[in-house]
């Protein structure tokens, strides 16, 4: 097994507030292999975006990494001084955010923004940088890239802008791209195009992708593996088809069951009662226990680690060699 590109180990992110410390990410552990696409799915507030922000080192204060480590290509990055981290951003880790409209500076041409990014990381002169920028635009499917190089963001439609954003993220050939809800702000018809584009260009450039979204359809379409997050923890992780068709964690079961499908006939959609707990009210033991249809005594006492299930790993006491609950 080749060394994983990204290793997140027991990441813990806290927000000190006047009413006490909120734990937003609790013991998050996962890997991403080179060239792989890992989907990270969960409800709003589950901690998906925070994980991405921690990895690129743009956690907004007062949030801070309280414990854990983040390793990139065998080197630790969570404790780097700011200027070293800045050198990594863009060059080794690229980022894509949700809203293409607000991701681009409205007062600069997209060409200028591209060239600036390229020249920050690569020793190219203006002419070469421009050529490279135009090549990137063409690659991401912008027609007449030469002419559009000098246009402003508001002259592009939403889908086009997101293509520009992808081009910007790939500009310095990063090995990892953190994509935070890249299609949520786009029309449904465009979403498929953008996801296909992301997959294709990532493969072509040999980059791994951490794809954060709440849309299971996107996950199913694009990821190799998927991690399900709940209340700041990973509750299940595994190859995407297994997680979708053979989920082990009751939350994942509920999540998959609540997605309408044209294939299977069902009377009613599954619904999970209750709501994800707020950060200041996370119950002891397993965070899902108040809502779990299969809860038992141990769930309320002890918090489970990710245990091996038949095809995935799930943080559930129903799973693993020492399971005692009802199956």
């Amino acid at each position: 097994m080749s060394q994983p590109l990204l290793e997140v180990k027991h990441l813990r992110v806290e927000f000190p507030t006047r009413r006490g410390t909120l734990v937003a990410l609790d013991d998050v552990t996962f890997d991403i292999a080179p060239g792989e696409i890992l989907g990270v799915v969960g409800e709003s507030g589950a901690g998906k975006s925070l994980t991405g922000a921690s990895i690129i080192g743009l956690l907004e204060p007062p949030g801070r990494i309280a414990a854990g480590e983040i390793w990139l290509e065998g080197g630790r990055i969570d404790d780097l001084p700011p200027d070293r981290m800045r050198a990594i951003r863009g060059r080794r880790i690229g980022a894509i955010f949700q809203d293409p409209l607000t991701s681009l500076n409205p007062l600069y041409t997209i060409g200028r923004q591209l060239v600036e990014t390229i020249q920050t990381h690569l020793p190219l002169n203006a002419g070469d940088a421009r050529a490279r920028a135009i090549a990137l635009l063409q690659e991401t499917g912008i027609p007449a890239a030469d002419a559009r190089f000098d246009q402003y963001p508001h002259q592009f439609s939403g889908g086009m802008r997101q293509r520009v954003v992808i081009a910007l993220a790939l500009a310095a050939e990063p090995k990892l791209i953190v994509a935070d809800e890249p299609t949520t702000a786009l029309d449904v018809s465009i979403q498929a195009q953008i996801i296909a584009l992301l997959k294709r260009t990532a493969k072509q450039h040999g980059a791994a992708v951490m794809l954060v979204t709440h849309d299971m359809g996107v996950i199913a379409e694009a990821s190799d593996r998927v991690a399900v997050m709940y209340a700041g923890r990973i509750v299940e992780i595994g190859p995407v088809q297994q997680v979708i068709h053979q989920p082990a964690h009751p939350y994942t079961v509920g999540l998959m069951g609540s997605i309408p499908s044209m294939e299977s006939a069902r009377e009613r959609l599954l619904q999970i009662d209750g709501a994800m707990p707020r950060l200041n009210a996370i119950p002891p033991g397993c965070a899902f226990n108040p809502r779990c249809p299969k809860v038992f005594e141990r769930c309320r006492r002890e918090r489970p680690d990710l245990l091996q299930a038949p095809s995935t790993r799930a943080a559930c006491w129903l799973v693993g060699p020492s399971s005692e609950g009802v199956r």
Binding site: L58, R89, L107, T120, S157, A171
Partner: protein, 327 residues
């Protein structure tokens, strides 16, 4: 763009007509228009003659039209207080006020903008706190009090600078300037600083607030995520976006400066239009008040127009008339 300019021009004309209307009402109905035009020493025969000439029994619209016609030519009759033509009084005093206002504007911008940027980028540092407190003081101290304090320190106690008048002026054609003599500058220092303080504090707080807003945007976050250097982020992206709205405000502030000069001119007995206006208000010298009003309105309208055009030059979003092309 042409449509825009046309629309603004029409607006400007409407505003001017409204102001002219108000001035006309002052002229006709507050006090005696005949006295306003002929002065207080006119004989009864002269008054009779003027009444007949003016046809004061003519319709309201006609009289208004005549007033506007006169106003456009700068004809506002005689000052009730001084007996001289209003237009020549104003022309005489105009350069003094303009030079004062411009000097203050330069000070306010040259000090206010950098301080605003500094306090935004170095939030929480001791220096920033000091400047923020000083700016609060600047906004809470009435202009006249600042003037008096400056007089107390620099003229009375230290005997360094003069405290009234303009000093030596040089005539350049019809324009009397104090900028060409040392004595003129010495007289200009205290009044210019006095006038500038309030605007300086406002600009500083505005720039700071704008910059903090800009630093929170997605495109700044995205720029950081691409590894752009702090310097480029702050002084390339953030500063440009900050200054765009600041431009409008500062343009309008120039108009405010000319108006606030009234106070400064009173404190320092600076022979400008403001002092003239105050004396007119104290004396109920209607022709002068009306003329000053129209002139100020004109200046404001012109500045507004200029600022709008400046916006066009700076913000590309306003320049494009065609909608964004399809994806």
């Amino acid at each position: 763009m042409l449509a825009f300019v046309l629309r603004r021009l029409i607006q400007a004309v409407v505003v001017m007509l409204t102001v002219a209307f108000i001035a006309f009402m002052l002229f006709q109905y507050v006090g005696d228009p005949v006295t306003n035009l002929l002065g207080q020493d006119a004989t009864p025969e002269q008054r009779q003659q003027l009444r007949a000439d003016l046809g004061l029994d003519a319709s309201f619209a006609v009289q208004f039209a005549r007033f506007v016609g006169n106003a456009v030519r700068g004809e506002f009759g005689l000052s009730l207080r001084q007996g001289r033509k209003v237009s020549s009084l104003i022309v005489e005093r105009f350069p003094a006020t303009i030079e004062l206002a411009l000097s203050a504007a330069v000070i306010a911008l040259a000090v206010g903008i950098p301080l605003g940027v500094y306090t935004a980028l170095r939030r929480g540092r001791f220096g920033s706190q000091v400047f923020m407190t000083l700016s609060l003081l600047g906004v809470s101290l009435p202009t006249f009090l600042i003037g008096i304090l400056l007089i107390l320190v620099f003229a009375v106690l230290l005997k360094l600078l003069p405290s009234f008048g303009r000093g030596e002026v040089v005539m350049l054609g019809g324009w009397s300037t104090g900028w060409l003599t040392i004595d003129g500058w010495k007289h200009l220092v205290l009044p210019a600083i006095t006038l500038a303080v309030f605007q300086l504090a406002l600009i500083m707080r505005l720039v700071r607030a704008e910059m903090l807003e800009v630093l929170r945007t997605d495109y700044i976050k995205f720029a950081r995520a691409r590894g752009i250097s702090d310097h480029a982020v702050y002084f390339g992206h953030a500063l440009k976006n900050t200054l765009v709205p600041v431009i409008t405000i500062t343009g309008l502030q120039l108009g405010a400066l000319i108006a606030f000069a009234i106070i400064t001119e009173t404190v320092f007995q600076w022979p400008g239009m403001g002092l003239l206006f105050i004396q007119a208000v104290q004396f109920a010298d209607i022709p002068v008040m009306a003329a000053y009003l129209c002139l100020i309105a004109l200046i404001f309208v012109l500045i507004n127009l200029f600022v709008d055009l400046l916006y066009f030059a700076v913000d590309p979003r306003l320049r494009i008339e065609r909608p964004a092309t399809a994806h």
